[in-house]
Each structure stands twice: as C-alpha cells, then as structure tokens.
C-alpha cells in the first residue's frame, strides 16, 4: 500500500456525507481511488426511489448514505385531518405490496383504542387474508431479489403464482393490491361463496411451486456465491438497530410478534418460527421461503376452522375513541409494523404515528454493506425487502 495522500478527501462534499467521514479509513486499498457514486433514485435495483450515495474504493464500499423521502406523502399529517374511518384506505398505500397487513395493524390499533374486538369469524378471515398477503409479498420479494442478482426466471414464476393470490383478493374485496379489506371492528365483506374452496385450491396449487422456486435457487451455485456471507448482520446488531422481521430471524433470534404477543387469532394456530444462523443473505432467503410454508400451514388451519358468526363487532357508526394513547404492532411481512395513536376524544386522530419496518430496517444497510463490493449492495438492498412507499410514507 502506498503512503496515504489524503488530498482527495477534501473534495468530498462535506454536507451530504458528514455521516461517512466519521469512519473513513486512513488507508485505502488502492491509492487515490476513492469515488463517490450516486445509486438511484432512478435505478431498477433500488426497488423504488431510493438514492444511495456510495463511497467506494475501487469496487469496495467504504460507506453509504441513504437519501430518502422522494415518495413522502405526509401520511401522518393526512391522518390528523381525516376521521378514523376515512384514513383506513390510506394505510394500504404505505407498504403497497402488503396492503392487507397494513390494514390489519391499523384496524386493530383503533379497535384497541376503542376497547372493542373483532368477532372470531372476522379474525379468521383477517388471518387468512393477511397470510395470503405475506405469501404474495414474499413472492414479489423473491422475484425481484433474484432478478437483481441475475436470475431472471424466478420473477416469471413468482409473478405467475402471485396472480392467484391477487385473484382471491379481487374476488373478496374487488381490489388486487390496495385492498382496504378490513374495517374498524371487523370486516365489511362476508366471504364470497367458494372462498374456502379457492383458498384450498391455492394451497394445493402453491405447495409444489415453492419447491419449484427452491429447485431454481437453493442449491444453485451462482445463487450461493452471490448470497452466502453477503450482508452479514449479527443478532446483537439487529437488536441495536431495531431490525425486525425475517432479517432478525435469519440472524438467529426466534422472535415473531405472532407468537411473542399474539394478535388477531394467531394464538389458535400451530406454526413455527423459522430462523437462520449466519444472518447472511442466503439465510434470509431460506427464512422467507420457510415463512411461506408456515403461512400456508396457518391458512390451512384457519380455512378448516373458520367459525360461523357475525363479521362486524359492536362499533359505533361514528368512531370516537376515548381520550388516550395506544401503541399496537403486528408482524408484517417486513417486520414489526406499529401504530401509535393519540386520541383527543374527537373523530380524528390527534396524532397518528406509523412505525414502519422498512424505514428502520433500511438503516442497517450501511452496516451490512461496508467492505463488500458494489454488486453486493444490490443483493443487500434486495434482501432488506424494503418498500419505499413505507420508508417515506
């Protein structure tokens, strides 16, 4: 290594990279080869409008900084100017790949504030749709993630099969993506005739499809090279950075809100929490694949045990929760999705805060890619499974 002449450092734009300067190594692998590159916001592998400023030494990443907010719509401010009911469809637009989960979290949070509970039948319907949505979300993740890394085929497979989930949503509530499936207090729609049959048909259809995905990737040598030991994050770092969801589980922490603090009807079902060991991209892939299988298990139990009864609880026409504040969170496909609502006794939330899993998980990107190659940044962004609609809100 030649003597470090750090003259070029002065050219680093100070303001935007103040974060990175803290940990700039004083020696680089190649002399004077530091480079600042903008990745995004218009970049197919950033899954939306994410801009990552990369500080590189040749191809090696010295540090990153995320610039976000391109998709900021001020959801929390909107909430303060809408009634509880009117705000419900807005939550679908945050994580638009898992709209049903967002709706479930919001409805349950308001129900908690109202101190009412959805009737059992509604809770089963909620679980079925939410788990279907988890599958759809993971399918979308798998397809795009594999595409980023260079495997094109999984994208077509997953999108073909995801269509079947979306068809069920469409038959149930008329929408495919931004479903607005649930209402505060229960569900608006009774299941259509043939709903159970559709769901069971999907399960039998989908079980061999996961094997198909796995046949393409799990032992694929290129896939292994690109994902093993890439973007490693330890359990301790995950906890310190607030990283949740499959990322946390892939690092070996057996924690899932559906088990830890059960909501909806999850306590009634038998399922496992898949975990990984190494906390690398490959383990996260395996964890998500296993999660899809577990989701199928849950759906199967829920469809077979779906009780009869009403689908709406006793909620007043005008929703006016008593003064108070509540935090409620659910295990969304991407991690802990929380709602913190402050009510002042009126029909509109006084303050509504969304705790988005993608936003918090994205913060770990810098730690995960330091020292890796540029190509690995793509893999790590993919494995984080972020949705910019939720990061920016």
């Amino acid at each position: 290594m030649s003597s470090p002449t750090n003259d070029h450092k002065n050219e680093v734009p100070k303001r935007s990279l103040s974060n990175l300067d803290l940990e700039t190594p004083d020696k680089t692998y190649l002399d004077s080869n530091e480079l600042i590159i903008n990745m995004g916001p218009q970049h197919p592998a950033t899954h939306g409008v994410l801009r990552v400023i990369l500080k590189l030494d040749g191809e090696r990443v010295l540090g990153t900084e995320c610039v976000i907010g391109y998709l900021h719509r001020g959801v929390e401010k909107i909430a303060e100017n809408r009634t509880y009911t009117m705000f419900n469809p807005y939550v679908d637009r945050m994580d638009y790949c898992a709209a049903v989960s967002n709706g479930l979290g919001y409805c349950e949070a308001v129900e908690k504030l109202l101190n009412v509970e959805a009737p059992p039948r509604a809770q089963y319907i909620r679980v079925i749709l939410t788990e279907l949505n988890r599958i759809a979300s993971h399918q979308l993740w798998l397809g795009t993630h594999a595409l980023d890394i260079g495997a094109m085929t999984p994208l077509f497979y997953t999108f073909r099969d995801r269509e079947e989930v979306l068809k069920i949503f469409e038959r149930y509530c008329g929408a495919r993506l931004t479903t607005h499936a649930f209402r505060i207090g229960g569900c608006q729609y009774e299941t259509y005739s043939g709903f159970e049959k559709d769901v069971t048909t999907f399960l039998t259809f989908f079980a061999p499809k996961i094997d198909e995905y796995e046949a393409l990737l799990t032992t694929n040598r290129i896939w292994l090279e690109r994902t093993k030991n890439v973007g490693v994050i330890s359990a301790a770092d995950c906890i310190a950075l607030g990283v949740t969801g499959p990322l946390l589980r892939a690092s070996g922490v057996k924690w899932d809100l559906r088990k830890a603090q059960p909501y909806a009807a999850y306590s009634k079902f038998d399922f496992e929490i898949p975990t990984g060991e190494n906390g690398d991209t490959y383990d996260r892939y395996i964890v998500r694949m296993m999660e899809m299988r577990q989701a199928m298990r849950i759906i199967e139990q829920a469809v077979n045990g779906i009780p009869e009864g009403p689908i709406m609880g006793k909620v007043p026409k005008v929703i006016k929760p008593p003064v108070g504040e509540i935090y409620h969170s659910i295990e969304a496909p991407k991690g802990e999705l929380g709602y913190f609502i402050v009510s002042d006794g009126s029909t509109q939330p006084y303050r509504l805060r969304v705790r988005p899993p993608s936003f918090v998980n994205l913060q770990a990107l810098d730690l995960m890619v330091r020292g890796l190659l540029v190509a690995d940044v793509i893999a790590v962004i993919g494995t984080l499974d972020i949705v910019l609609g939720e990061v920016d809100r």
Binding site: G74, V116, E117, K320, P322, Q363
Partner: protein, 218 residues
C-alpha cells in the same frame, strides 16, 4: 429549558390540556374485556364515565425507579399498556438505566406529539421493548418549544434515523446526535409539518405562488 415548572403530580397529568374534552365518548365503552391484563374498568371517575383512564402502574420495576426519582417520574398504565411519564431532566439517565438494568434492549420507535396550547408544547415518546421480558413500555416526557433533548443514539443506534425524523417533522433538537438533519423532507423545506400550527395547504400555496406566479385556488 422550562424544567422549573414541575407540575406537582395531579394523578393523571399526562395530557393536561386534553382532559376537558373527555366527556362525550361514552358510547365507545368497552364491550369485551379481551385485553391481556385489562385495567380494572372504570374507577371512581368524576361522574361521567369517559372511557378508561390511565391508572397507576405498579410493579417491582416501578417501585425501584419511583424510590430513586420520586416526583420526577409517574408510572401509569392505560388499556394494559404501561408507560413512564418523566421529567425532562431525567431523560438520558432513565433511558440508559432501562436498557442496561431492565433489559429494554430494543427501541421500537421514537416520536412526538404537538400540543400548541400547552406551555411545554411537545410530548416526546420512546416506545421500548424488551426481548428477555417480552414486555413493552413507553417513556414519555414533555418539553417546551425550542428546548432540546439529549440524543439517545449512544443508547440505541436505531434512534439515529428516528431522531432525525422527529427533528424533521417537529423541529425538536437532539443534542449529541451525530448528524441531525432533515430525513424525509428536502433540505430547503420551511417549517415542521407535524406541528399543529402547520397548515396542510401552506407549502402548496407558496409553491404555486413562487412557481406559477398566481394565487393558489385551494
């Protein structure tokens, strides 16, 4: 820093100015007490049952910190969710203790709420979770406009972006934050949108005026 006005602990002091509006929503009374460890329904509240009210939270953890900090700390529970309402001056210490001694190792969220009519305008809330205990709690404090809070990035690194967002939306400064700047909004943004006195059309009107040279029709 307006710490001198330490409200001498009226039992439920968290939202001093919100209380008067609490009469009406009796319709939304509880139907099913399905909450784990639901608070013992309506206590002897003054006449009108205005839904559940925050109750004192009792546990060994609370005893410990109560005896240590006395009147600067209020431990309450609402609908089965526990929180500390603490004085601003205790903030770095109590958070650090909760992580180190009580294993609240995961800072779930950090956020704020604005009450423009209050003297201490902002509620700042830390939502914490403990993996070993499988418990949640919140820490809440009140600060005045222009007052600062010590950063908790050294306690939970995740607070980095969360504090930036609170700064971005409310303009609350965190001392000792490594890089406190706007996160979701562009650098040139004026004002702090989640403050109550920030009109939702304000930015829009200004943009139209500057860029189109006409009055906004909104």
């Amino acid at each position: 820093m307006a710490e001198e006005i330490k409200s001498p602990a009226p039992p439920p002091p968290p939202e001093g100015e919100k209380k008067p509006a609490a009469e009406k929503p009796a319709a939304a009374a509880p139907t099913a007490p399905a909450k784990p460890a639901a608070p013992a329904a309506k206590p002897a509240a003054p006449a009108k049952p205005a839904g559940p009210v925050p109750m004192p939270w009792t546990s060994p953890l609370v005893e410990k910190y109560k005896s240590q900090y006395g009147s600067g700390l209020d431990a309450l529970t609402y609908l089965g969710q526990n929180y500390f309402n603490v004085d601003r001056s205790l903030i770095p210490d109590i958070l650090r203790l909760l992580r180190d001694e009580e294993q609240f190792d995961y800072c779930v969220d950090l956020t704020a709420a604005h009450y423009p009519k209050r003297e201490k305008q902002f509620d700042v809330v830390w939502i914490l979770y403990s993996f070993p205990r499988n418990q949640r709690m919140r820490v809440k404090t009140q600060i005045a406009d222009g007052a600062t809070l010590p950063s908790s990035v050294s306690i939970w690194p995740t607070a980095n972006w969360l504090e930036r967002e609170v700064y971005d939306m409310f303009g609350i400064q965190f001392d000792g934050h490594p890089d406190l700047k706007r996160i979701l909004l562009p650098d040139g943004w004026k004002g702090f949108p989640l403050r109550k006195d920030y009109d939702i059309l304000q930015q829009d009107k200004e943009w139209v005026q500057i860029n189109l040279g006409i009055e906004s029709g909104q």
